[in-house]
Protein backbone atom coordinates (compact mmCIF):
# COMPACT_ATOMS: atom_id res chain seq x y z
CA UNK A 1 0.00 0.00 0.00
CA UNK A 2 1.34 3.42 -0.99
CA UNK A 3 1.96 5.79 1.96
CA UNK A 4 0.12 9.17 1.64
CA UNK A 5 2.26 12.29 2.14
CA UNK A 6 1.24 15.19 4.42
CA UNK A 7 -0.48 17.98 2.52
CA UNK A 8 0.46 21.66 2.89
CA UNK A 9 -2.95 22.47 4.41
CA UNK A 10 -2.48 19.81 7.08
CA UNK A 11 0.95 21.21 7.88
CA UNK A 12 -0.47 24.77 8.19
CA UNK A 13 -3.29 23.55 10.44
CA UNK A 14 -0.79 21.70 12.66
CA UNK A 15 1.47 24.75 12.81
CA UNK A 16 -1.48 27.02 13.57
CA UNK A 17 -2.68 24.80 16.41
CA UNK A 18 0.85 24.50 17.80
CA UNK A 19 1.33 28.29 17.71
CA UNK A 20 -2.02 28.86 19.48
CA UNK A 21 -1.09 26.38 22.22
CA UNK A 22 2.42 27.84 22.51
CA UNK A 23 1.15 31.45 22.70
CA UNK A 24 -1.35 30.47 25.45
CA UNK A 25 1.40 28.67 27.33
CA UNK A 26 3.85 31.55 26.84
CA UNK A 27 1.40 34.19 28.10
CA UNK A 28 0.62 31.95 31.09
CA UNK A 29 4.33 31.62 31.90
CA UNK A 30 4.91 35.39 31.50
CA UNK A 31 2.01 36.13 33.84
CA UNK A 32 3.22 33.58 36.39
CA UNK A 33 6.74 34.99 36.27
CA UNK A 34 5.46 38.56 36.74
CA UNK A 35 3.34 37.50 39.72
CA UNK A 36 6.28 35.55 41.12
CA UNK A 37 8.55 38.61 40.87
CA UNK A 38 5.90 40.75 42.59
CA UNK A 39 5.40 38.15 45.35
CA UNK A 40 9.12 37.72 45.96
CA UNK A 41 9.66 41.50 46.23
CA UNK A 42 6.67 41.76 48.60
CA UNK A 43 8.03 38.83 50.61
CA UNK A 44 11.43 40.51 50.80
CA UNK A 45 9.77 43.68 52.08
CA UNK A 46 7.75 41.72 54.66
CA UNK A 47 10.86 39.86 55.84
CA UNK A 48 12.79 43.12 56.18
CA UNK A 49 9.97 44.63 58.23
CA UNK A 50 9.75 41.47 60.35
CA UNK A 51 13.48 41.72 61.00
CA UNK A 52 13.11 45.38 61.98
CA UNK A 53 10.29 44.49 64.36
CA UNK A 54 12.19 41.57 65.95
CA UNK A 55 15.46 43.47 66.29
CA UNK A 56 14.03 46.73 67.64
CA UNK A 57 11.62 44.90 69.94
CA UNK A 58 14.62 43.23 71.58
CA UNK A 59 16.49 46.52 71.77
CA UNK A 60 13.65 48.63 73.18
CA UNK A 61 12.63 45.88 75.64
CA UNK A 62 16.06 46.16 77.25
CA UNK A 63 16.42 49.93 77.53
CA UNK A 64 18.43 50.72 80.64
CA UNK A 65 19.91 53.77 82.28
CA UNK A 66 23.63 54.31 81.62
CA UNK A 67 26.24 53.82 84.33
CA UNK A 68 26.33 57.58 84.73
CA UNK A 69 22.67 57.86 85.71
CA UNK A 70 22.71 61.63 85.22
CA UNK A 71 22.29 60.97 81.51
CA UNK A 72 18.90 60.16 80.02
CA UNK A 73 18.34 56.56 78.97
CA UNK A 74 16.79 57.76 75.70
CA UNK A 75 17.01 61.08 73.88
CA UNK A 76 16.50 62.69 70.49
CA UNK A 77 19.30 64.76 68.97
CA UNK A 78 18.66 67.95 66.99
CA UNK A 79 19.10 66.01 63.74
CA UNK A 80 16.25 63.71 64.77
CA UNK A 81 18.57 60.83 65.57
CA UNK A 82 17.23 58.64 68.37
CA UNK A 83 19.88 57.76 70.95
CA UNK A 84 19.31 55.21 73.71
CA UNK A 85 21.18 53.04 76.18
CA UNK A 86 20.27 49.39 76.17
CA UNK A 87 21.44 46.00 77.40
CA UNK A 88 22.95 44.24 74.39
CA UNK A 89 23.31 41.10 76.54
CA UNK A 90 25.96 38.65 75.30
CA UNK A 91 28.11 39.51 72.30
CA UNK A 92 31.24 37.68 71.09
CA UNK A 93 33.07 41.01 71.55
CA UNK A 94 32.89 41.89 75.29
CA UNK A 95 33.10 45.60 74.42
CA UNK A 96 29.69 45.38 72.76
CA UNK A 97 28.18 43.25 75.55
CA UNK A 98 26.05 44.51 78.41
CA UNK A 99 24.99 48.16 78.55
CA UNK A 100 25.85 50.03 75.35
CA UNK A 101 24.68 53.15 73.54
CA UNK A 102 22.63 52.76 70.38
CA UNK A 103 21.61 55.21 67.66
CA UNK A 104 18.79 54.91 65.16
CA UNK A 105 19.13 57.09 62.06
CA UNK A 106 18.40 57.27 58.34
CA UNK A 107 21.61 57.69 56.32
CA UNK A 108 22.22 59.30 52.90
CA UNK A 109 21.74 55.97 51.16
CA UNK A 110 18.18 55.88 52.50
CA UNK A 111 18.86 53.07 54.95
CA UNK A 112 17.64 52.86 58.52
CA UNK A 113 20.81 52.14 60.48
CA UNK A 114 21.21 50.88 64.03
CA UNK A 115 24.64 51.90 65.34
CA UNK A 116 26.10 50.55 68.57
CA UNK A 117 28.82 52.51 70.34
CA UNK A 118 31.30 51.18 72.86
CA UNK A 119 34.41 53.07 73.98
CA UNK A 120 36.19 53.85 70.71
CA UNK A 121 34.41 51.20 68.72
CA UNK A 122 31.34 51.51 66.53
CA UNK A 123 29.23 48.88 64.84
CA UNK A 124 26.61 49.54 62.18
CA UNK A 125 23.73 47.38 61.07
CA UNK A 126 21.21 48.06 58.32
CA UNK A 127 17.75 47.54 59.71
CA UNK A 128 15.66 48.54 56.68
CA UNK A 129 16.30 49.70 53.10
CA UNK A 130 14.49 52.41 51.13
CA UNK A 131 13.67 54.67 54.05
CA UNK A 132 13.30 58.36 53.23
CA UNK A 133 12.42 59.60 56.68
CA UNK A 134 11.79 58.34 60.20
CA UNK A 135 9.54 60.08 62.68
CA UNK A 136 9.52 59.24 66.38
CA UNK A 137 6.58 59.66 68.76
CA UNK A 138 6.48 58.84 72.44
CA UNK A 139 3.53 57.82 74.61
CA UNK A 140 3.93 59.75 77.85
CA UNK A 141 1.77 60.00 80.96
CA UNK A 142 0.76 63.59 81.51
CA UNK A 143 -1.46 64.27 84.53
CA UNK A 144 -3.26 60.90 84.49
CA UNK A 145 -3.64 61.03 80.71
CA UNK A 146 -1.59 59.25 78.10
CA UNK A 147 -0.49 61.51 75.26
CA UNK A 148 1.62 61.06 72.14
CA UNK A 149 4.46 63.57 72.16
CA UNK A 150 7.20 64.35 69.64
CA UNK A 151 9.84 64.80 72.36
CA UNK A 152 10.96 62.70 75.32
CA UNK A 153 10.59 63.82 78.93
CA UNK A 154 13.95 64.67 80.52
CA UNK A 155 13.90 62.34 83.50
CA UNK A 156 11.67 59.46 82.64
CA UNK A 157 11.23 57.04 79.78
CA UNK A 158 8.08 56.92 77.66
CA UNK A 159 5.75 53.89 77.81
CA UNK A 160 5.75 53.28 74.06
CA UNK A 161 7.96 54.46 71.21
CA UNK A 162 6.26 54.80 67.84
CA UNK A 163 8.42 54.89 64.71
CA UNK A 164 6.76 56.03 61.49
CA UNK A 165 8.74 55.32 58.34
CA UNK A 166 8.14 57.14 55.02
CA UNK A 167 4.72 58.26 56.41
CA UNK A 168 3.70 54.83 55.17
CA UNK A 169 3.94 52.31 57.98
CA UNK A 170 4.35 52.49 61.75
CA UNK A 171 5.97 50.31 64.39
CA UNK A 172 5.30 50.56 68.11
CA UNK A 173 7.54 49.20 70.85
CA UNK A 174 6.86 48.86 74.57
CA UNK A 175 9.49 50.16 76.97
CA UNK A 176 10.01 49.06 80.57
CA UNK A 177 9.62 52.43 82.19
CA UNK A 178 8.37 53.76 85.50
CA UNK A 179 5.27 54.95 83.63
CA UNK A 180 3.54 51.68 82.94
CA UNK A 181 0.42 51.51 80.82
CA UNK A 182 -1.04 48.83 83.12
CA UNK A 183 -1.06 49.80 86.78
CA UNK A 184 -1.22 47.03 89.39
CA UNK A 185 -2.63 48.04 92.73
CA UNK A 186 -1.78 46.26 95.99
CA UNK A 187 -4.78 44.41 97.42
CA UNK A 188 -6.09 45.59 100.81
Amino acid sequence: MKKRAITLIELFVALGLASIILSILFSYFVQTTRIDIKISSAKKEVLERQYLQTKLKQVFASISYPADSKKNAMFLSSKNYLYFFFDNQIDPDPDFSGKVMGKLAVNKEKKLILSIYSKNKKRKETILNNVNQAKYDFLVKDSNKYLWKASIPDEDLPCIVKISLNNDFTFAFFIDSEQTVVTYLASK
Binding site: K43, Q50, T54, P92, G98, F174, S187
Partner: protein, 293 residues
Protein backbone atom coordinates in the same frame (compact mmCIF):
# COMPACT_ATOMS: atom_id res chain seq x y z
CA UNK B 1 19.53 9.04 20.42
CA UNK B 2 18.95 12.80 19.87
CA UNK B 3 15.53 12.59 21.56
CA UNK B 4 17.09 10.99 24.62
CA UNK B 5 19.56 13.88 24.99
CA UNK B 6 16.79 16.46 24.54
CA UNK B 7 14.54 14.82 27.12
CA UNK B 8 17.34 14.47 29.68
CA UNK B 9 18.30 18.16 29.15
CA UNK B 10 14.69 19.25 29.70
CA UNK B 11 14.49 17.07 32.82
CA UNK B 12 17.76 18.53 34.13
CA UNK B 13 16.52 22.11 33.58
CA UNK B 14 13.26 21.26 35.32
CA UNK B 15 15.09 19.66 38.26
CA UNK B 16 17.43 22.63 38.69
CA UNK B 17 14.64 25.20 38.56
CA UNK B 18 12.51 23.17 41.02
CA UNK B 19 15.48 22.87 43.37
CA UNK B 20 16.14 26.64 43.33
CA UNK B 21 12.45 27.44 43.92
CA UNK B 22 12.29 24.89 46.75
CA UNK B 23 15.44 26.14 48.49
CA UNK B 24 14.11 29.73 48.29
CA UNK B 25 10.82 28.63 49.79
CA UNK B 26 12.55 26.65 52.56
CA UNK B 27 14.69 29.69 53.44
CA UNK B 28 11.63 31.95 53.65
CA UNK B 29 9.77 29.36 55.73
CA UNK B 30 12.73 29.08 58.13
CA UNK B 31 12.85 32.86 58.60
CA UNK B 32 9.08 33.00 59.13
CA UNK B 33 9.21 30.20 61.75
CA UNK B 34 12.16 31.82 63.51
CA UNK B 35 10.33 35.20 63.53
CA UNK B 36 7.12 33.74 64.93
CA UNK B 37 9.13 31.77 67.53
CA UNK B 38 10.97 34.90 68.54
CA UNK B 39 7.71 36.85 68.91
CA UNK B 40 6.17 34.00 70.89
CA UNK B 41 9.19 33.79 73.22
CA UNK B 42 9.17 37.57 73.71
CA UNK B 43 5.46 37.50 74.48
CA UNK B 44 5.99 34.73 77.05
CA UNK B 45 8.89 36.62 78.66
CA UNK B 46 6.81 39.79 78.79
CA UNK B 47 3.85 37.94 80.32
CA UNK B 48 6.07 36.29 82.94
CA UNK B 49 7.54 39.68 83.87
CA UNK B 50 4.09 41.20 84.25
CA UNK B 51 2.98 38.15 86.29
CA UNK B 52 5.89 38.70 88.67
CA UNK B 53 5.18 42.39 88.89
CA UNK B 54 1.55 41.62 89.72
CA UNK B 55 2.60 39.01 92.30
CA UNK B 56 4.97 41.48 93.97
CA UNK B 57 2.13 44.00 94.37
CA UNK B 58 -0.27 41.46 95.89
CA UNK B 59 -0.95 41.39 99.60
CA UNK B 60 -0.87 38.56 102.13
CA UNK B 61 -4.23 37.25 100.94
CA UNK B 62 -2.74 36.39 97.59
CA UNK B 63 0.30 34.79 99.23
CA UNK B 64 -1.89 32.23 101.02
CA UNK B 65 -3.73 31.28 97.82
CA UNK B 66 -0.36 30.84 96.10
CA UNK B 67 0.68 28.45 98.86
CA UNK B 68 -2.32 26.23 98.20
CA UNK B 69 -1.72 26.21 94.45
CA UNK B 70 1.91 25.25 94.86
CA UNK B 71 1.04 22.31 97.10
CA UNK B 72 -1.45 20.96 94.57
CA UNK B 73 1.03 21.48 91.77
CA UNK B 74 3.80 19.77 93.67
CA UNK B 75 1.63 16.70 94.18
CA UNK B 76 0.74 16.37 90.53
CA UNK B 77 3.89 17.67 88.85
CA UNK B 78 6.58 16.82 91.38
CA UNK B 79 9.32 15.91 88.93
CA UNK B 80 8.63 18.84 86.63
CA UNK B 81 8.91 21.41 89.41
CA UNK B 82 12.06 20.03 91.00
CA UNK B 83 14.37 21.61 88.44
CA UNK B 84 12.11 24.40 87.20
CA UNK B 85 14.04 27.18 85.45
CA UNK B 86 11.66 29.73 84.03
CA UNK B 87 12.18 32.31 86.78
CA UNK B 88 15.59 33.21 88.16
CA UNK B 89 15.77 35.12 91.42
CA UNK B 90 18.80 37.31 92.05
CA UNK B 91 19.09 35.92 95.58
CA UNK B 92 19.51 32.38 94.23
CA UNK B 93 22.59 33.22 92.15
CA UNK B 94 26.16 33.09 93.39
CA UNK B 95 27.51 36.62 93.75
CA UNK B 96 31.15 36.56 92.66
CA UNK B 97 31.85 40.25 93.35
CA UNK B 98 33.79 39.46 96.59
CA UNK B 99 36.34 37.60 94.45
CA UNK B 100 37.32 40.86 92.75
CA UNK B 101 37.98 42.61 96.05
CA UNK B 102 39.98 40.08 98.05
CA UNK B 103 40.96 36.44 98.17
CA UNK B 104 37.88 34.45 99.12
CA UNK B 105 38.61 30.72 99.19
CA UNK B 106 35.05 29.64 99.90
CA UNK B 107 33.50 31.58 97.00
CA UNK B 108 36.38 30.54 94.74
CA UNK B 109 35.81 26.87 95.52
CA UNK B 110 32.04 27.08 95.13
CA UNK B 111 32.40 28.83 91.78
CA UNK B 112 34.80 26.10 90.60
CA UNK B 113 32.36 23.40 91.73
CA UNK B 114 29.46 25.17 90.04
CA UNK B 115 31.28 25.57 86.72
CA UNK B 116 32.41 21.95 86.84
CA UNK B 117 28.94 20.72 87.79
CA UNK B 118 27.12 22.61 85.03
CA UNK B 119 29.60 22.61 82.14
CA UNK B 120 31.86 19.57 82.59
CA UNK B 121 29.87 17.48 80.09
CA UNK B 122 29.73 20.12 77.35
CA UNK B 123 31.72 19.59 74.17
CA UNK B 124 33.68 22.84 74.67
CA UNK B 125 34.90 21.69 78.09
CA UNK B 126 35.69 18.20 76.84
CA UNK B 127 37.51 19.48 73.73
CA UNK B 128 39.69 21.80 75.81
CA UNK B 129 41.06 18.65 77.49
CA UNK B 130 42.85 20.57 80.24
CA UNK B 131 43.29 19.67 83.86
CA UNK B 132 41.76 22.07 86.40
CA UNK B 133 40.25 24.09 83.57
CA UNK B 134 37.62 25.61 85.84
CA UNK B 135 40.28 27.05 88.18
CA UNK B 136 42.26 28.53 85.26
CA UNK B 137 39.08 30.06 83.90
CA UNK B 138 38.17 31.57 87.28
CA UNK B 139 41.65 33.11 87.59
CA UNK B 140 41.11 34.78 84.21
CA UNK B 141 37.62 35.96 85.24
CA UNK B 142 39.00 37.48 88.46
CA UNK B 143 41.75 39.25 86.54
CA UNK B 144 39.26 40.67 84.03
CA UNK B 145 36.94 41.83 86.85
CA UNK B 146 39.79 43.53 88.70
CA UNK B 147 40.77 45.33 85.48
CA UNK B 148 37.24 46.69 85.04
CA UNK B 149 37.15 47.90 88.67
CA UNK B 150 40.59 49.50 88.22
CA UNK B 151 39.38 51.38 85.13
CA UNK B 152 36.19 52.42 87.00
CA UNK B 153 33.95 50.65 84.47
CA UNK B 154 30.71 48.74 84.99
CA UNK B 155 31.48 45.21 86.18
CA UNK B 156 29.05 42.99 84.30
CA UNK B 157 29.51 39.33 83.41
CA UNK B 158 29.20 39.81 79.62
CA UNK B 159 31.68 42.71 79.74
CA UNK B 160 34.52 40.64 81.23
CA UNK B 161 37.36 40.49 78.71
CA UNK B 162 39.62 37.51 79.39
CA UNK B 163 43.24 37.89 78.32
CA UNK B 164 43.53 34.41 76.86
CA UNK B 165 41.59 34.14 73.58
CA UNK B 166 40.94 30.41 74.11
CA UNK B 167 39.38 31.03 77.52
CA UNK B 168 37.44 34.00 76.14
CA UNK B 169 35.76 31.73 73.58
CA UNK B 170 35.00 29.15 76.25
CA UNK B 171 33.62 31.87 78.54
CA UNK B 172 31.44 33.25 75.71
CA UNK B 173 29.95 29.79 75.10
CA UNK B 174 29.26 29.39 78.80
CA UNK B 175 27.54 32.80 78.85
CA UNK B 176 25.37 31.80 75.91
CA UNK B 177 24.50 28.35 77.26
CA UNK B 178 22.71 26.10 74.81
CA UNK B 179 19.90 27.24 72.56
CA UNK B 180 17.49 24.99 74.36
CA UNK B 181 17.86 24.00 77.98
CA UNK B 182 15.59 21.57 79.78
CA UNK B 183 17.06 20.32 83.07
CA UNK B 184 14.20 17.86 83.59
CA UNK B 185 15.11 16.02 80.40
CA UNK B 186 18.85 16.65 80.82
CA UNK B 187 18.99 18.60 77.56
CA UNK B 188 21.55 21.40 77.20
CA UNK B 189 23.17 23.66 79.77
CA UNK B 190 22.02 26.99 81.24
CA UNK B 191 23.67 30.31 80.58
CA UNK B 192 26.29 31.34 83.14
CA UNK B 193 24.09 34.41 83.74
CA UNK B 194 21.45 32.10 85.25
CA UNK B 195 23.75 30.76 87.94
CA UNK B 196 26.15 33.56 88.86
CA UNK B 197 25.89 37.32 89.23
CA UNK B 198 28.04 40.33 89.99
CA UNK B 199 26.47 42.63 92.56
CA UNK B 200 28.45 45.10 94.60
CA UNK B 201 25.57 45.91 96.95
CA UNK B 202 24.77 42.43 98.33
CA UNK B 203 26.68 39.68 100.11
CA UNK B 204 27.52 36.31 98.56
CA UNK B 205 24.90 34.49 100.63
CA UNK B 206 22.40 32.37 98.74
CA UNK B 207 18.74 32.33 99.72
CA UNK B 208 17.84 28.67 100.36
CA UNK B 209 14.18 29.43 99.59
CA UNK B 210 14.99 30.22 95.94
CA UNK B 211 18.36 28.50 95.39
CA UNK B 212 18.43 26.69 92.07
CA UNK B 213 19.06 22.99 91.61
CA UNK B 214 22.52 23.65 90.15
CA UNK B 215 23.61 25.81 93.07
CA UNK B 216 22.33 23.31 95.65
CA UNK B 217 23.99 20.40 93.86
CA UNK B 218 27.31 22.25 93.83
CA UNK B 219 26.97 23.22 97.49
CA UNK B 220 26.02 19.74 98.67
CA UNK B 221 25.15 16.98 96.22
CA UNK B 222 22.35 16.04 93.79
CA UNK B 223 20.42 13.97 96.35
CA UNK B 224 20.33 16.76 98.96
CA UNK B 225 19.46 19.32 96.27
CA UNK B 226 16.43 17.30 95.19
CA UNK B 227 15.33 16.73 98.81
CA UNK B 228 15.58 20.46 99.62
CA UNK B 229 13.58 21.44 96.54
CA UNK B 230 10.90 18.80 97.21
CA UNK B 231 10.57 19.96 100.81
CA UNK B 232 10.41 23.58 99.63
CA UNK B 233 7.61 22.76 97.18
CA UNK B 234 5.56 20.77 99.67
CA UNK B 235 5.74 23.34 102.47
CA UNK B 236 6.10 26.48 100.35
CA UNK B 237 9.40 27.18 102.14
CA UNK B 238 12.08 25.21 103.90
CA UNK B 239 12.66 25.70 107.62
CA UNK B 240 16.00 25.53 109.38
CA UNK B 241 14.86 22.35 111.20
CA UNK B 242 13.91 20.59 107.96
CA UNK B 243 17.16 21.65 106.37
CA UNK B 244 19.24 20.31 109.28
CA UNK B 245 17.21 17.10 109.20
CA UNK B 246 18.04 16.55 105.51
CA UNK B 247 21.74 17.19 106.18
CA UNK B 248 21.70 14.75 109.10
CA UNK B 249 19.98 12.08 107.00
CA UNK B 250 22.56 12.44 104.24
CA UNK B 251 25.50 12.69 106.64
CA UNK B 252 27.08 15.75 105.05
CA UNK B 253 30.66 16.42 106.10
CA UNK B 254 32.12 19.92 105.73
CA UNK B 255 35.60 20.11 104.31
CA UNK B 256 38.44 22.16 105.77
CA UNK B 257 38.70 24.57 102.83
CA UNK B 258 35.03 24.62 101.87
CA UNK B 259 32.06 25.09 104.15
CA UNK B 260 28.75 25.22 102.22
CA UNK B 261 26.82 26.35 105.29
CA UNK B 262 28.57 29.73 105.14
CA UNK B 263 26.63 30.53 101.94
CA UNK B 264 23.16 29.65 103.22
CA UNK B 265 20.66 32.29 104.20
CA UNK B 266 17.17 31.42 105.46
CA UNK B 267 15.72 34.90 105.25
CA UNK B 268 14.69 35.99 101.79
CA UNK B 269 15.20 39.63 100.92
CA UNK B 270 12.67 40.92 98.41
CA UNK B 271 14.09 40.96 94.90
CA UNK B 272 14.24 44.30 93.16
CA UNK B 273 14.76 42.60 89.82
CA UNK B 274 13.42 39.40 88.38
CA UNK B 275 14.87 37.54 85.40
CA UNK B 276 12.57 35.37 83.36
CA UNK B 277 13.13 33.10 80.40
CA UNK B 278 10.54 33.24 77.63
CA UNK B 279 10.78 29.89 75.84
CA UNK B 280 9.00 28.98 72.64
CA UNK B 281 8.84 25.19 72.78
CA UNK B 282 8.14 24.80 69.05
CA UNK B 283 11.23 26.63 67.77
CA UNK B 284 13.20 26.28 71.04
CA UNK B 285 13.97 30.02 71.00
CA UNK B 286 14.73 31.40 74.46
CA UNK B 287 14.53 35.08 75.37
CA UNK B 288 15.90 36.40 78.67
CA UNK B 289 14.21 39.40 80.22
CA UNK B 290 15.04 41.23 83.42
CA UNK B 291 12.47 43.54 84.93
CA UNK B 292 12.50 45.87 87.90
CA UNK B 293 9.67 44.90 90.26
Amino acid sequence: MNILVTISTILLILALSTQSILSKRIDVEKIQISHSGNMQAQRKAYNLCEKNLYKSKKGKKAESSKKNNTTIDSKTKKTIHVKDKVEIHGCSQLNIYPLFLEENKNTYELLARLIKHVYKDTSTFKNANEKNLEYKLIDQIILAGKNLIKNKQDVELPKLKLQNEKYQQLYYRMLKGTKFYDPNKNIGVPSLLDVITINSSTSNRICIQHASYNILSSLFNKKIAEKIIKNRLENNKITKEDFNKILEQENIVTQRDFNPLEFISFTHKRDSYVTVLGIDEKTQITIRKTKKI
